[in-house]
């Protein structure tokens, strides 16, 4: 069986050696000094690397794991501890990150490693340039780290061999699968030990909601700024990240929606041109075919087409099927209020990026949904900003076991 070991050693190897390498790793105390230092070091290495600076996603990662942020995470973690509840590592965590979001393996690893777990990371043999670059910096940082951080992580790469997934899963206390749904179903054929747990990230759908009045009250500069933020949310990963918005809901008075929409998307396209975003010819044709198909299948009222972005306006979400081609394609719908979305939202809906609502409206939306949809509400511009709260999990806690300690004496019956 072909496995390539990428860390701690590098080279082709066999499954037995991989398992031995994993066995030689050890867990650490949560937020061990060596791990905090290694992460901060990785952040520094990314920021100082001339090549890495060409990739905004790597810069965002470096920023997210910079020292100040780690200290904040440590404090948040410390606040989770109670006198009768102690968070300890789960043990060995097997990460199956997505191939196409280059930075995801580090985010997935980071939260799990910080709380003290041993990590196995599986990477695809087909890796983008930026993944390889990140991998090199990651290896350098961990190789230079102190114990126990240095000896905490194994990275392997293999392709078709499900036998390897089976073996590594059998060895894991916790498995982290980044979807899509097909990957999850495929990996799930490999059973975990009976005590093993799973954190899964299936296919999701995300959308934005804009309060029309708040938008129309903005100055031209502020509107441009919002369009800029929206551009990041949509185009950073060609709109295929699960938290990238695919639908924009205009909330407020109907007649104003058209005005706001046309103003906003013109600015978004201007921003795309300014940043020289150009989709491939094939994607452009795919978007056209998808649009024609959607016009026949759903309640589409009108369309706007810019070279960068296609917008289809829906009369209602009732027959909306949530398929999407990516690469700059959004649906839009007008609703009277945020609460108007409630009947149309489904379990698959993950991130709602918003502009112009007050806290009570957002909280009331969550209360009304009562768990049937939406795991995350953040401002427009933060759709792709990864955090410990994701897909309904608090990952800091999901990567731990919680030990209950009660030492109060048994009350004797008087």
């Amino acid at each position: 069986m072909d496995v390539e070991l990428l860390f701690p050693n590098k080279g082709a190897t066999d499954l037995e050696t991989v398992l031995k390498t994993v066995a030689s790793c050890s867990t650490a105390r949560p937020f061990d000094e060596s791990m905090l230092a290694a992460c901060a070091d990785l952040s520094r290495r990314i920021m100082q690397d001339a090549e890495a600076r060409r990739y905004p996603a790597l810069m965002a990662l470096a920023f997210w794991i910079r020292k100040a942020e780690l200290i904040r995470l440590h404090e948040e973690f410390a606040n989770l501890d109670r006198p009768d509840r102690i968070l300890v590592p789960s043990g060995t965590v097997f990460h199956l990150p997505p191939r196409n979001v280059d930075t995801m393996f580090v985010y997935s690893w980071l939260l799990s490693a910080l709380v003290g777990n041993k990590s196995i990371i599986r990477l695809s043999p087909q890796r983008s340039d930026s993944t390889n670059l990140l991998l090199r910096l990651f290896r350098d940082a961990l190789a230079a780290a102190e114990e126990p951080a240095r000896n905490s992580t194994v990275i392997v790469s293999y392709g078709h061999e499900s036998a390897i997934t089976f073996a590594l899963t059998a060895y894991s206390d916790l498995r982290v699968i980044w979807g899509g749904d097909n990957t999850i179903n495929e990996v799930r054929r490999a059973s975990l030990p009976s005590h093993g747990r799973e954190v899964i990230f299936p296919d999701r759908y995300s959308m934005a909601a804009v309060n029309i009045n708040s938008y129309l009250a903005l100055s031209p500069e502020e509107r441009d700024r919002l369009a800029d933020l929206f551009f990041n949310d949509v185009f950073w990963f060609d709109q295929l990240a699960c938290s990238s918005p695919q639908l924009v809901a205009w909330c407020g008075e109907g007649t104003q929606a058209r005005i706001a929409s046309s103003d906003f998307f013109t600015r978004v396209c201007a921003c795309a041109r300014r940043r020289h975003y150009l989709t491939s010819a094939a994607n452009s044709m795919q978007k056209l075919t998808f649009a024609a198909s959607a016009i026949l299948d759903m309640c589409v009222e009108s369309w706007q087409r810019f070279p960068e972005l296609t917008i289809l306006s829906l009369a209602t979400l009732s027959d909306f099927n949530r398929s999407h081609p990516g690469g700059g394609f959004v649906f839009e719908v007008a609703v009277n209020s945020l609460a108007g979305l409630v009947p149309s939202l489904v379990r698959k809906d993950q991130t709602l990026t918003t502009f112009g609502f007050d806290d009570t409206e957002l909280i009331s939306l969550v209360r009304q949904l009562n768990g049937k949809a939406i795991d995350r509400i953040v401002p427009i511009g933060q759709a792709l900003q990864f955090g410990r709260f994701w897909d309904g999990y608090d990952l800091l806690r999901a990567f731990c076991r919680e030990v209950y300690v009660n030492n109060s004496p048994i009350k004797t019956m008087a």
Partner: protein
């Protein structure tokens, strides 16, 4: 009246301006007809093209992306008038296009093809070699693209000889018999480009054989040959060197517009017949591009009546080289096809393991 006009005049003889005027009036009528009879076409032309009806030029006409015929069955005739359903062959795993034909459209297709082919073949039916296997055309109600093309072309020949057996091997002794009977007068050879190359030429190159009176008509795309690094020029040269075959005509056509094929002239460029045309568009802006610039090929044709396929944006790349100035006496647009628009992978959280396992 004007479709008849376009049929009757010698093909490739109309200067572009004159042709566009005739074709435009024909296509305006077709646009109106499909709006009236095909709900989907009405909806798409209303929403995507804002219901505009007064077109000043061919390039103003609404066009449908050709891929739409893979997901939707679009018809402008009631079910009971459907006479034949065509399916694109498509490579494995792809969804085929479905095209519904009524008698009128099927007849127009036959007539159209005949107008184009007699231009290079002359009025006589010639003895014909089909570089195909005979099994392909057994089912006569539902056709794949290859079978439809084959049957369409069979009309132009007589004494049909299928040169391949059911395993696609060359029937050499029978071919030699055919040539002994017909080989010293004009005869027709028809087949798909890849089969001509891999099953005909490859097995003939070591044999001494004389095809110098043959006229080869072939089409179906260059993709597989490009993978083997065989260019159109290589194809012509090597066939001529080993068999003496000089008259070679490639054509570009698709199941979504059967009958209106674009045939190669003696100068190696493709030419639209009188009743069809090509427009090259920028794939991102969808604006029409001038000669010399590569873009997505839009094909328009005055034939499709039973389905709204008179104006389609393909997923092929092409370029117009010249208009009304060919060296082989043809008028209109001289163009060539560069093959499919290359697929580029988008990023995102994709199905990593599943994609590798399947």
């Amino acid at each position: 009246m004007s479709l008849e006009d376009l049929f009757q005049r010698p093909q490739f003889s109309l200067p572009q301006l004159q042709k566009e005027a005739l074709l435009l009036s024909e296509l305006k009528q077709l646009d109106r007809l499909h709006r009236e009879r095909c709900e989907e076409y009405f909806r798409l032309s209303s929403i995507m093209f804002h219901g505009v009806e007064n077109f000043g030029a061919l390039s103003d006409l609404p066009f449908l992306p050709v891929g739409l015929f893979k997901t939707h069955s679009l018809a402008s005739v009631p079910k009971e008038d459907v006479f034949r359903v065509l399916m694109s062959s498509g490579t494995t795993g792809q969804v085929p296009s479905k095209i519904v034909l009524d008698r009128e459209t099927a007849q127009l297709q036959t007539l159209a093809l005949s107008r184009i082919m007699t231009h290079v073949l002359g009025p006589q039916r010639l003895p014909m070699i089909l570089v195909e296997q005979p099994d392909l055309i057994k089912d006569r109600t539902s056709f794949g693209a290859r079978a439809a093309g084959l049957i369409g072309m069979m009309n132009f020949g007589r004494e049909h000889f299928f040169a391949l057996d059911s395993d696609l091997n060359l029937r050499l002794p029978e071919l030699q018999d055919f040539l002994a009977r017909h080989g010293n007068r004009p005869f027709l050879i028809f087949g798909f480009t890849f089969l001509i190359w891999s099953r005909f030429y490859e097995q003939l190159r070591e044999t001494v054989i004389d095809l110098s009176h043959g006229i080869l008509v072939h089409g179906g795309g260059w993709k597989k040959l490009q993978d083997q690094a065989v260019s159109a020029t290589d194809f012509r040269r090597m066939l001529e060197e080993s068999t003496g075959l000089k008259k070679i005509y490639n054509f570009y056509g698709m199941v979504e517009q059967v009958g209106s094929i674009f045939l190669e002239g003696e100068d190696g460029y493709l030419y639209p017949p009188n009743f069809a045309d090509v427009i090259i568009r920028d794939p991102n802006t969808l604006d029409e591009l001038p000669p010399g610039e590569i873009g997505a090929i839009q094909v328009v044709s005055a034939l499709p009546r039973s389905y709204p396929g008179h104006s389609l944006l393909t997923e092929d790349l092409g370029v117009i080289h010249a208009i009304d100035s060919s060296s082989c006496g043809r008028f209109g647009k001289a163009f060539s096809v560069m093959g499919r628009i290359p697929r580029a992978e988008l990023r995102g959280c994709s199905d990593v393991i599943a994609a590798q396992v399947n």
